[in-house]
């Protein structure tokens, strides 16, 4: 019973990260990197995955030290750990995965300023056990990746008529099939690539999520009425 309960809890944490408390679409935090890099689906995906790695590592690390950190100094402690972690990743990649660094390097510095990571440390990892923090980090990270990739894909298709351009630079030649021309001969519409396009796509997706959630919460209510009759 207890084991099943625990599994359900982890599934719940994961689902919160992907959908219910999605960093972009529900918490609406970390919008600065989100707007900056989602000019294409590939960039969104790359940034999302890099953030997932750092977020998961930071969550687990902070969960391990949570009992030793007193409430009054927790924020500087978390910031020091997160900034160090990102810098270590940055240096290690630059040294030992230099080709990947040349592609992803632009994004790594942006991860430091991602408030979602500090947010998860504060709201979740500092109160929960390492395993739960790990699940939360992966869930939140993948939710973030999903959001960035979706925004990036819509902006890229509307802006250039293509999808996942240059994916092979990130994921090797094997990812060449991801690169698709959605509208052949499309002249492009620059606005979607520029910041206004980012805000518009973001707004529309937020609205769409609200509509889905409202409809979902309405349906059981209707059923309940039927039962009552």
């Amino acid at each position: 019973m207890d084991g099943e309960h625990k599994t359900n809890r982890y599934v719940g944490i994961f689902r919160d990260g992907i959908w219910n408390q999605n960093i972009i679409f529900s918490q609406t935090v970390a919008l600065c990197p989100a707007m900056a890099v989602t000019s294409s689906a590939t960039n969104g995906l790359g940034m999302g995955l890099a953030t997932t790695a750092v977020l998961t590592a930071a969550n687990v690390l902070i969960s391990f030290i949570r009992k030793g950190v007193s409430n009054e100094v927790r924020i500087p402690v978390f910031i020091a750990f997160i900034a160090t972690l990102v810098t270590l990743v940055d240096m290690a990649m630059n040294a030992w995965a230099h080709d990947l660094y040349k592609v992803l390097g632009l994004f790594i510095a942006l991860i430091v300023v991602n408030c979602a990571i500090l947010g998860r440390a504060e709201a979740f990892a500092s109160r929960e056990k390492p395993l739960a923090a790990l699940v939360d980090g992966i869930g939140m990270g993948l939710g973030f990746t999903l959001a960035l990739t979706t925004i990036g894909a819509i902006r890229e298709v509307l802006g250039t008529g293509m999808l996942f351009q240059q994916a092979h630079l990130f994921f090797g030649p094997g990812a060449k099939w991801l690169e698709q021309t959605v509208f052949p001969g499309y002249g492009g519409m620059l606005m979607w690539i520029l910041p206004p396009g980012g805000f518009m796509v973001m707004g529309m997706l937020l609205a769409a999520k609200r509509v889905i959630e409202t409809q979902r919460s309405r349906r059981p209510a209707v059923n309940a009425q039927v039962v009552h009759c």
Binding site: S39, G68, N71, T84, T87, A92
Partner: protein, 201 residues
């Protein structure tokens, strides 16, 4: 009082907080210092390798047979790599830079002895991904539009400013900066050409 209750009391006191913060500071800076030491050499090596690759890229294939990294002249604080074939000078390669949209753009360029651009490559930049990064060869062929240009023979500006180099949709500052860097580099080389050669001998 159990041990954990004692710890709770202790944790809420000032000395513990100051001490733990100091400890975190020491630990993180130690980690960074160690990592810096461990990665410094590999990073420098990779940058050196990148430089070698870029040096070879800006010169036409087969236009030199000497060790570029070994044939250098330091002139006015710039390192100039001299490309030679059969002992005869075929080109000079050097770095130049200018300020882009966010931070400096470093380019390496090759010029032949007559003052014609042989090739240009961007070494490093921090321009907006998806907009300004079309100055990289991996993303677009734009940077090749400099090949064959000479100082008097080309209008050294982007089209928007009345020149002959394309700007990118949504990014004018980045190509403008690269044009400026190459232009200045070429002017410098044409002016200092003789002095550089004299220093080599």
């Amino acid at each position: 009082m159990t041990l954990s209750e004692k710890f709770d009391v202790w944790r809420s006191k000032m000395p513990y907080q100051a001490g733990s913060l100091a400890l975190v500071g020491i630990l993180t800076s130690a980690a960074l210092a160690l990592a810096n030491q461990a990665t410094e050499k590999p990073i420098a090596d990779s940058l050196q390798k990148d430089l070698k690759v870029s040096l070879a890229q800006v010169l036409p294939v087969g236009s030199f047979d000497n060790d570029l990294a070994g044939t250098t002249v330091k002139h006015q604080g710039r390192t100039v790599y001299l490309a030679k074939k059969g002992g005869k000078l075929t080109g000079a390669v050097f770095e130049t830079s200018s300020k882009g949209y966010s931070g400096s753009i470093n380019v390496v360029m090759a010029v032949d002895p007559q003052g014609k651009v042989l090739g240009v490559r961007v070494l490093s930049h921090t321009e907006t991904p998806g907009l300004g990064d079309k100055i990289e060869t991996q993303k677009s062929d734009w940077i090749k539009s400099f090949i064959g240009k000479t100082l008097p023979g080309a209008k050294w500006a982007v089209k928007k400013d009345g020149g002959e180099f394309d700007q990118f949709a949504g990014a004018t500052i980045t190509p403008r900066a690269v044009v400026k860097a190459v232009h200045e580099g070429l002017q410098w080389y044409v002016q200092e050409n003789a002095a550089i050669l004299k220093e080599e001998k």
